[in-house]
Amino acid sequence: MRTILRVNMSDLSITKEPLSDKWAGYGGRALTDAVVFTEVPPDADPLGPDNKLVIAPGLLGGTTGPNTGRLSFGAKSPLTGGIKESNSGGTAAHALARLGVAAIIIEGEPEDKLGRYVLRLFPDGHADIVHRHDLTGLGIYETAAVAKGIEAAEHRMSEKTSFIIAGPAGEMGMKAAGIAVTDPAGHPNRFAGRGGLGAVMASKGLKLIAIFYEGLGATEHADKEAFNAASKKFGAALKEHAVTGQGLPTYGTNILANIINEAGGYPTNNFALGRFEGVDGISGETMREITLERGGNVKHGCHAGCVIQCSRYYVDKDGHYKTKGSEYESVWSLGANCGISDMDAVADLDRECGDLGLDTIEMGVTLGVYMDSGKIAFGDADAAMAALKECRKGSELGKILGDGAEATGKAFGVARIPVVKHQGLPAYDPRPIQGIGVTYATSTQGADHTAGYTITANVLGVGGTVDPLKPEGQAELSQGLQIATAMLDSLGLCIFVAFAVLDIPAAFDAIGEMMTAHTGKTWGADELMGLGKEVLTMERLYNEGAGFTAADDRLPAFFYEDKLPPHDVVFTVTDEELDSVHSFVPETAAAMGITVPGK
């Protein structure tokens, strides 16, 4: 029995509701969307009492299926002003699902605006809210350490404890604030980074959620034998594919640095160049060498049941843990995009963002814009760190930077501000890699590579090939991937499974088979892709209610005007093609019986 845990921060009450029948086929992103779509007015103040933070494991969360431990966080975004789903690894998704929780809905706001609260969920199913003023303003790592100490003193801590944490950036209401989740070793280093959801969590007075799940087994299936068979088939496909079986486990996500640089799409110095001279200093190969030399861990999963194992720990010169990964996106944003080629300096910036609870992508784009203003120089890692320290202080400058790239660009009069729907662009320039430009422009989430990762066919030769330098075929490629991704995000699957799914038909079949065996209802290709379309349809209609139009589905002008070296190209996908990406929405909305909310 899946339940909704409704937490009202206005009166500090917690109620349990059965998941309604209409949402029985929803989990993860589909469920956070459905709650936000239904319960949060599109004109709500994102940091006010009418917004809600929804936390939902996927439909396969809590099972032993491979890579099923993603956790979706949803709300109206303070950064984009539209609907937001940002998902994270870490242990909390399986923990919640094993407690039978389909979603936590956090609503209202505490009377005491300066209050800091901890929500705790216990293995026997009860939950409480405790006042924890001593956590005010603490960094993510210190918050985890203090909370661990308190709970350990009462003999509650174990390996089966998950924390979800808002950092000081969230407490200051910064629009680039994310939410941290602890990994299997208890490090609070997995993030629902994008869209300012850390600020939404903190606006509810919520500093930490502790989930204790000692003694709880995997969730039950309608047909256990069939589930285990499908799960085995899926795991075998992930092991078989060269990317998920070899490339990612060996080098981690930052293996991409050299290949995206080679393709001329590695944004450098605030998207001024497509190749970074200093890439050797921060590549995945270099990171692996440094980490091995210092005795760091170069291969583990971010949640139980991960068979890809792309996570790793970066350690300092003395071998002490500094931060996770670092991941490709973070190394790019805080490295190449800022002209910084020193891996230790990048890891320091990554750790600082992680401890403040700031999205590394947004902050790297922000620092690149700030450098472009001339206030500090490209390549100056010390100045970049000093800027992040301003965020910690909450100074006037820090508050501007903490609100992201667009706020910073406007404050300092920068011409090139790489954002879509107010959210900073990730680590692929859309001029030489045009498919990803379609995703950035049209995604309901603002510029987000994960929303429809066309790098697969554009650069990596996964799932076919589509010439990255030409506009042809990009809209169709992005549409298919956006639908598939919305589905994977709803099942709680790591999107890296897509690399295998796109190339190995048995892997896609296995997802449907796992879903059928788990739920007892038939899930074939039509049902899976239909779910993806429903997700995008709710998001599109919500954004329309929040005021977005086709004009918001465009890249900033400079991507159409300024040629990017080395290929000297601009973005050439037409507006008509961009507008075709969501052509299925009216039909899906009619079938779902929904219309634009708030109108």
């Binding site: 490339g247 990612l248 080098y251 290949i259 995945g284």
Partner: protein
């Protein structure tokens, strides 16, 4: 003709042994090749394994039968991804 070879990740061990004057960067070497050499011939010459790979010439995807010309940069990757 003189070209650059760049092999990455697990393939970097196949980079030809060269003198320091030919070392361009950690993953890149300069090399003299006969005019008319194709991508496929370089792959055979350097002993790269017969496995899936991603090949670029001057930052653009290239097939094995593409003929290299003076100053070209040939880059080869094993299947990789991330994000």
């Amino acid at each position: 003709m003189r070209v650059q070879l760049a092999f990455f990740a697990s393939l970097s061990q196949y980079l030809p042994e060269t003198g320091s004057e030919d070392r361009v960067s950690a993953h890149t070497r300069a090399m003299d090749l006969p005019d008319g050499t194709t991508v496929g011939q370089v792959i055979t010459l350097t002993g790269l394994p017969d496995e899936p790979r991603i090949v670029f010439v001057n930052g653009r995807h290239a097939p094995d039968d593409q003929v290299l010309t003076e100053g070209d940069r040939l880059a080869v990757f094993p299947p990789v991804a991330g994000g």
